[in-house]
């Protein structure tokens, strides 16, 4: 079997197979308190310290909707180009597990808050692709079970129980692992821009289940799919989809397609395989019925309009604007808008210095620095305005690119105005031709063998001359000027 990476086709011996994938993404709603109780909805508190009586499923307790969560969900729906339903209903999804204190999850079944929408993917080659969203609904999160803390007891932490979730369900439009990755990254960018979710897969504030099936290329049928649950990084989602699709193809090609049962599976990144979960998880009748403790949720057109008007500039719009305003490539633009803080940083820099150079410096030099120091752009050691000034010094011919890198290093430890640093360290570029000419004349005199080499056609020896000039000027000579004078004098 071989895979063509351009359009993800799995070539089997009998058929060519394409992947059909839909993603269900659970995003924890960023809010002060939980969806139906007053307990704090933050992450990282001591176990069972953020638990109200309702979250613990105590007798007689009742849910009351948190309006802030509803606003977050509506804002998210609007930024997904989706229809917001004026009237939606909550339902009880019934099953028993130790971390589900009520014995049912309050969710939304037939009448979710958000209808169909679209996510636009930024592909690595600069193109875009639309992935349809079927719906989004609100529901509560369960607590966390820990089975490995004690030989014969399981521990349950209910801090997470009751936290609001937005479950975003895509259509089965995804065809390649790359698309899945791009989908998750775009979704993460959107919810972070809107401020409705932290989007941290490693912390669990964003979780992804992948539904995977395959079919022969050209077919439009939907074959049996398997759900790979709770994969906690974008990279693992991509790997899991690849591995699961291959598993299906192998079975179909061997005539054992009936062994593919609609079921839930776990991805093991260490072994590079998916495994079936305990079978009792698979045969669930959730007995959904309308939640009798809550009234239908009504969201007025006025509220929708009000929230829409106050949305920040969203990733896709910002990407377009960067392309138009700063003349960036779609790829560069996509990289810069992925994080709202990066985009804002970039705009400050690009207003001072050349936009293209600014993009380069940020995505290469600055990102490398941040990674090294384990910082984010929000607490970047170098401020945007200073970086902008630095880049302008290059285009103004005050310093060379090479010197600029030195100044950059200095700024990383002491975020001063680069002009001051250049001044203090005497790093100004030497453009004075007479000084350079003098040095070159001396070099020509003192190394006639190199001059001879050049005349014999070994033009690479120019590099030696340039190196010597740089050495003698502590790197401050303007390379362009040096090269010009050398060419004049050596020819």
């Amino acid at each position: 079997m071989t895979k063509s990476t351009s359009s993800y086709i799995i070539k089997g011996e009998k058929h060519d197979w394409e992947v059909v994938c839909g993603l269900e993404v659970h995003c924890q709603i960023k809010s002060e308190s939980k969806l139906f109780s007053n307990a704090p909805a933050n992450f990282g508190s001591a176990p069972n310290s953020n638990v109200e009586f309702l979250d613990a499923g105590m007798p007689g307790m009742l849910p009351v909707i948190n309006e802030e969560c509803v606003r977050q969900a509506v804002r998210t729906a609007l930024s997904l180009n989706a229809q917001v339903n004026n009237v939606s209903e909550f339902s009880r999804k019934n099953y028993f597990y130790a971390d589900l204190s009520l014995g049912y999850q309050i969710s939304q079944a037939d009448k979710p808050i958000m209808g169909p929408g679209v996510v636009v993917l930024d592909m690595p080659d600069g193109t875009t692709r639309n992935i349809g969203l079927e719906r989004m609904h609100m529901e509560i999160d369960a607590g966390k079970s820990m089975h490995d803390q004690h030989p014969d007891s399981s521990f349950i932490d209910f801090n997470r129980a009751g936290v609001g979730l937005m479950e975003i369900v895509s259509d089965p439009d995804i065809r390649t692992p790359e698309e899945a990755g791009a989908f998750l990254r775009k979704l993460r960018a959107i919810v972070r821009y809107v401020g409705s979710c932290d989007g941290n897969m490693d912390e669990g504030s964003m979780r992804c289940d992948a539904n995977v099936s395959v079919r022969p290329v050209g077919s439009t049928e939907l074959r049996t799919r398997c759900e790979i649950k709770n994969v906690n990084s974008v990279r693992y989602v991509m790997q899991a989809i690849e591995i699961e699709a291959l598993r299906h193809v192998e079975l179909y090609e061997a005539g054992r397609g009936d062994e593919i049962i609609q079921s839930s599976r776990l991805f093991d990144p260490n072994k590079g395989e998916t495994r079936s979960m305990r079978s009792k998880e698979n045969a669930h009748d959730y007995r959904y019925f309308p939640e009798p403790d809550l009234l239908p949720l009504v969201v007025s057109d006025e509220l929708i309009a009000e929230l829409k008007a106050k949305l920040p500039e969203l990733p896709d719009a910002k990407k377009e604007r960067f392309i138009q305003e700063f003349k960036l490539s779609p790829y560069d633009s996509a990289v810069l808008i992925d994080d709202r803080n990066t985009a804002e940083y970039y705009e400050i820099v690009a207003k001072i210095a050349d936009p293209k150079l600014s993009a380069n410096w940020i995505t290469t030099n600055l990102f490398a620095l941040l990674k090294e120091e384990n910082k984010t752009i929000a607490n970047s050691p170098i401020s945007a305005s200073n970086l902008g000034k630095l880049i302008k010094l290059i285009t103004d011919d005050v310093i060379s690119g090479k010197i600029a890198k030195q100044v950059f290093e200095i700024m990383a430890t002491d975020d001063k105005d680069p002009e001051k640093i250049v001044e203090e360290k005497g790093l100004k570029q030497i453009t004075d031709t007479s000084a350079i000419e003098k040095i070159i004349d001396e070099l020509i005199e003192s190394s006639p063998e190199n001059v001879q080499a050049f005349k014999e056609g070994k033009t690479k020896v120019v590099g030696w001359f340039v190196g010597q000039v740089m050495k003698q000027t502590q790197g401050k000579a303007n390379p362009g000027v040096v090269n010009k004078i050398l060419k004049d004098k050596l020819s």
Partner: protein, 484 residues
């Protein structure tokens, strides 16, 4: 209560003295087994505080009134069991809104009284804490059931062990026990009383209400219990009128509906005659009797026994032995094993029966045929009443097809037992306020009562009519099963 109120105000006796006399009555009639948990110390402390407030002129609506609390209301720091083994030792850390309201109006808590387990039943015989005997004995001198599910409440009040008691009514659990024991029992409009902190049976039906010896007491106590609660999303955001003002008001010109469908085949002759007698009383008082038809009446029972168990099956899922309450003895093979053993041992037969029924009607393949259908019919039942109330201001029916069963001779077939609710269920399905007024004794010497149903949030009308009936019938509450 109005007499007690006056006496307390005048200083004829103190709240502490009053509480002490009721505590004595409670102790004397322990054999009736109404109380699961007695809270005499708390009662005396509360009574002391009441005396202070009365002296300062700050008396609340229920100041100093010693009441019993159905063990379905969570009382902070005081054991709350729902009459179930699975909550045998459960002590809530929160106070239900209804009891909180009563205490802030000065009520004094004598104790928690028994009920059918998780409010499921019509006799209180399913209580884990043993048989509750009504203070009324039949002609043969045998004890009768106090009705259900609020049987501990009805025993306490008709046995003069409390001046009033809280009950809850889902399909008739206040009205029927009131009828069996000769009390006034009122179920207000759905949403009048907050359900926060009240152990849930069927969320869309449950309502708290007072059980008292007079109509005026019922009005006073309901006003104290009711009120909007933002912690309950189904709570009605409506002002609570002073219901006491409705007592003694003229009912001249009121139109009283007599629904023909309640005259069922084989209806007890005495009850049928009593119904006519009370209708005549209202006519004599100036009301107009109107024959009406509530064609959906016969569907109310089946619909109730689909919807209520369905909601209950989910409401009772939280009783799983994980976080509180009873957990069976281990070791366990796995989590499911723990659940099975805990819930099989912790729940009684009737509760298990209803959980199974509820799970069944919600399960895939049956949901549409049962649950969806039942909800549709429920809307029709509500519509039936709505149309009737365009022609009438209130409806008069019997409360129960029989008087109290002798203990040991109650219907053994659960389905037959379910028929005891046929008169009370329809009003519950429509969320309408309804109450029982005791009117007479039957040939067995046991109480009979009539039911009044009025429009949404129009409890005033039913209190006015009840007050007229009460005055005319002059029912004597003198049960023969009490210790001297």
């Amino acid at each position: 209560m109005d007499q007690v109120r006056n006496s307390l105000k005048k200083g004829e006796f103190s709240a502490v003295e009053l509480a002490k006399s009721y505590i004595q009555a409670m102790e004397k009639n322990r054999d009736l087994n109404a109380f699961i948990t007695e809270t005499s110390e708390i009662a005396l402390k509360q009574a002391e505080e009441s005396d202070k407030r009365i002296k300062a002129g700050n008396a609340g609506l229920m100041e100093g009134m010693p009441i019993a609390i159905k063990d379905l209301f969570c009382t902070k720091g005081v054991r709350t069991t729902a009459s179930s083994k699975i909550l045998e030792n459960f002590i809530p850390e929160y106070e239900s809104t209804v009891t909180s309201n009563l205490f802030s109006q000065g009520a004094v808590m004598l104790g928690k009284v028994a009920c059918d387990e998780f409010a499921m039943g019509s006799t209180t015989l399913t209580s884990f804490f043993g048989t509750v005997k009504s203070p009324w004995k039949d002609q043969k001198g045998e004890y009768t059931v106090p009705g259900g599910s609020s049987g501990g409440s009805s025993t306490a009040v008709s046995g003069f062990m409390a001046i009033g008691a809280t009950g809850t009514d889902t399909g008739g659990s206040i009205r029927q026990p009131a009828s069996f024991t000769g009390l006034v029992g009122a179920k207000p409009t759905y949403g009048r009383c907050s359900r926060w902190g009240t152990i849930a049976f069927a969320s869309s039906l449950d309502q708290a209400g007072p059980m008292t010896r007079t109509v005026r007491d019922s009005a006073i106590m309901l006003e104290a219990m009711a009120g909007y609660d933002q912690k309950d999303s189904t709570s009605a955001n409506r002002d609570v009128p002073c219901f006491e003002n409705a007592i003694g008001k003229s009912v001249k010109g009121m139109r009283i509906g007599i629904p023909k469908e309640y005259r069922v085949d084989g209806l007890n002759e005495e009850i049928s005659k009593e119904w006519d007698r009370i209708a005549q009383i209202l006519k004599d008082a100036g009301a107009e009797l109107v024959d009406i038809s509530l064609a959906t009446t016969k569907y109310a029972g089946p619909v109730y026994y689909i919807i209520a168990p369905a909601e209950a099956s989910a409401n009772l899922s939280r009783y799983d032995g994980v976080r509180f309450g009873f957990r069976a003895d281990g070791p366990f093979d796995n989590l499911d094993d723990m659940y099975l053993k805990t819930r099989s041992q912790g729940f009684g037969d009737e509760v298990q029966r209803r959980i199974l029924m509820g799970t069944y009607v919600l399960s895939s393949g049956f949901y549409d045929a049962y649950f969806t259908k039942a909800q549709k019919v429920r809307r029709l039942i509500a519509e039936d009443f709505k149309q009737a109330f365009e022609k009438v201001d209130a409806i008069l029916t019997p409360s129960s097809p029989s008087s109290a069963y002798t203990i040991g001779k109650e219907p053994k077939d659960p389905l037959e037992m379910y028929l005891s609710d046929i008169f009370t269920i329809p009003a519950s399905m429509a969320g309408l306020p309804a109450m029982n007024v005791p009117t007479n004794l039957d040939s067995n010497g046991l109480p009979l009562g009539m039911q009044l149903i009025s429009k949404h949030f129009d409890e005033n009308t039913m209190f006015s009519l009840a007050s007229v009936i009460e005055e005319a019938v002059d029912f004597q509450l003198n049960p023969n099963g009490l210790k001297e």
